[in-house]
């Protein structure tokens, strides 16, 4: 469970996050939407402790994020761009993360095997394509079966088969009551996964609603149509409430 209370962060004069409060529960698949530069990545990085907020608190399962780092053992993070030390093999990267997280002894290797990475585990990272590196990132995020998944553009650069595999895996984890926070510009990829939508614009939270509620108010079925309709109607101020 992630609780964000009045989070504010600015870079220079520009406010990347402006007084954001959100509460995300287990079992939810929250899709983080918004135009480029709306603060999605800053929000994700704040949750991970990579960006240090000016004001506000973030609590993960009741634990404040500020100084403590142990809470991160419950998070699986898949970054937007995965770059790894050039001369390491896939196997070495995976072993390294395993050795860092000694608190886990049971590994979820579904994705690792599903993507066929175990067959190319001796390949060096510098020889891998962008998509294969993305697969490594995904496998690492899911390796420790964490309670919370944070996925930044997970399907970008993946081929359709791998993309479906990843989506199935996300759905499977959701059914186990995990919390998934996902950003994607490919709305069709979120179809059937997202249960809630968080919409950010210029660092402000425009709305946080369940997909069913949005479908009901817009009268549309498909997610991209729902979002298009919401954006056309200029995001009414009343939609701040959950």
């Amino acid at each position: 469970m992630i609780e964000i209370i009045q989070l504010t962060k600015s870079f220079g004069r520009c406010k990347a996050l402006d007084n954001i409060s959100l509460s995300m529960q287990q079992g939810q698949a929250i899709s983080l939407l918004g135009p480029n530069g709306s603060g999605k990545t800053t929000l994700i990085k704040s949750i991970l402790g990579l960006v240090i907020p000016e004001k506000g608190t973030i609590r993960i399962n009741g634990q404040a994020v500020k100084k403590d780092w142990a809470y991160r053992s419950n998070i699986g993070y898949m970054p937007q761009i995965g770059r790894y030390p050039e001369n390491m093999t896939i196997e070495q990267v995976i072993n390294m993360i395993r050795e860092i997280r000694r608190d886990h002894t049971v590994y979820d290797e579904d994705l690792l095997k599903g993507f066929g990475l175990d067959k190319v585990r001796h390949k060096m990272m510098r020889n891998l394509s962008g998509g294969t590196r993305q697969k490594v990132s995904a496998s690492l995020a899911f390796l420790f079966s964490p309670g919370i998944y944070i996925l930044d553009e997970p399907t970008a650069g993946l081929d359709p088969v791998s993309s479906e595999l990843l989506k199935d895996k996300i759905a499977q984890e959701l059914s186990r009551g995990k919390l998934v926070l996902i950003t994607s510009h490919v709305l069709s990829d979120l179809e059937g996964i997202a249960s809630h939508i968080v919409y950010l614009q210029d660092g402000r939270l425009m709305f946080y609603k369940s997909v069913e509620a949005l479908q009901a108010t817009t009268g549309e079925e498909r997610l991209n149509k729902v979002i298009a309709r919401v954006m056309q109607t200029e995001l009414p101020a009343s939609s701040y409430a959950v």
Binding site: F11, K45, L48, G49, L50, V51, I52, W69, A70, Y71, R72, S73, I75, Y77, P79, I81, G82, R83, Y84, P85, E86, N87, M88, Q92, M96, I97, E99, I100, R101, D103, S137, L140
Partner: protein
């Protein structure tokens, strides 16, 4: 922390630039030592090579490596591990591999051709310079926002210490030559790790003519032994202070 050091080392030992650096140092060492019949002269040439190449190559390589692994650092930081360990582990990995390259490239030929205290001191000076300039590279990495600025800052830092600083010092000595400025010059030398390394080596070689103004001052005021200890402690400060500063800045940095 040990885990990260281990894997950074595994990555860097396969790095081609490190291998080439080792080879070039070794070729230079062997050729310089064979060229001169007098081992003391050979050591001096090697000292000059060390003072010229080690700072700039170390700081450039380390800065580029730190900036290239920024996404990887982010991934590490999303794991349950604190920032200080990640940063210091990366520093250790880079500093150890560059030191190993220097020790192998210069140290082994010296051991085979001119073993002795003076050679040992030369290797120690080179290693200290490697540690210092990796540490300065780390500071540049945490202070600069992007790679281009970082590399620029690295080049300026290396050029400042290897060229500009001595020019300023000479200017100072010329302008205030009439006054008793020996202690001030002595103090100024501690502000440049490259000068400190030079003095450390020259005190050992005991070549009064070649020592120059700074070396002679060190000898006059501190004597060989005290001078050496003083120089080494200053060099260690040059390594530790930037490291501590980097950790402080990094703990508050937005990635």
């Amino acid at each position: 922390m040990k885990t990260i050091i281990k894997y950074v080392l595994l990555d860097l030992l396969k790095n081609k630039i490190i291998l080439v650096y080792t080879l070039i140092l070794a070729v230079l060492a062997v050729s310089v030592l064979n060229l001169d019949g007098n081992p003391s002269k050979g050591l001096l040439s090697l000292l000059n090579i060390t003072l010229l190449f080690v700072p700039i190559i170390t700081i450039l390589f380390a800065t580029i490596y730190f900036f290239n692994s920024i996404e990887f650092t982010e991934l590490l930081l999303s794991q349950p591990i604190n920032r200080k360990s990640v940063l210091l582990a990366e520093y250790t990995g880079v500093a150890v591999s560059l030191s190993a390259a220097y020790a192998a490239g210069i140290g082994i030929p010296l051991l085979l051709l001119v073993s002795g205290t003076a050679s040992l001191i030369l290797v120690i000076s080179g290693l200290l310079l490697t540690l210092i300039f990796s540490s300065l590279a780390l500071l540049i990495f945490v202070l600069c926002r992007d790679k281009t600025r970082g590399i620029g800052a690295a080049i300026i830092t290396a050029l400042f210490f290897s060229l500009l600083f001595d020019g300023l010092l000479i200017g100072l000595i010329y302008s205030f030559g009439e006054y008793p400025i020996e202690k001030m010059v002595l103090g100024a030398i501690t502000l440049n790790p490259i000068d400190l390394a030079r003095v450390l080596m020259l005190l050992q070689l005991d070549v009064a003519v070649l020592m120059g103004y700074s070396g002679a001052l060190f000898k006059k005021f501190l004597g060989s032994a005290a001078g050496s200890i003083f120089a080494v402690s200053c060099l260690l400060c040059w390594m530790i202070v930037p490291l501590l500063l980097s950790v402080r800045v990094f703990n508050r940095k937005n990635l």
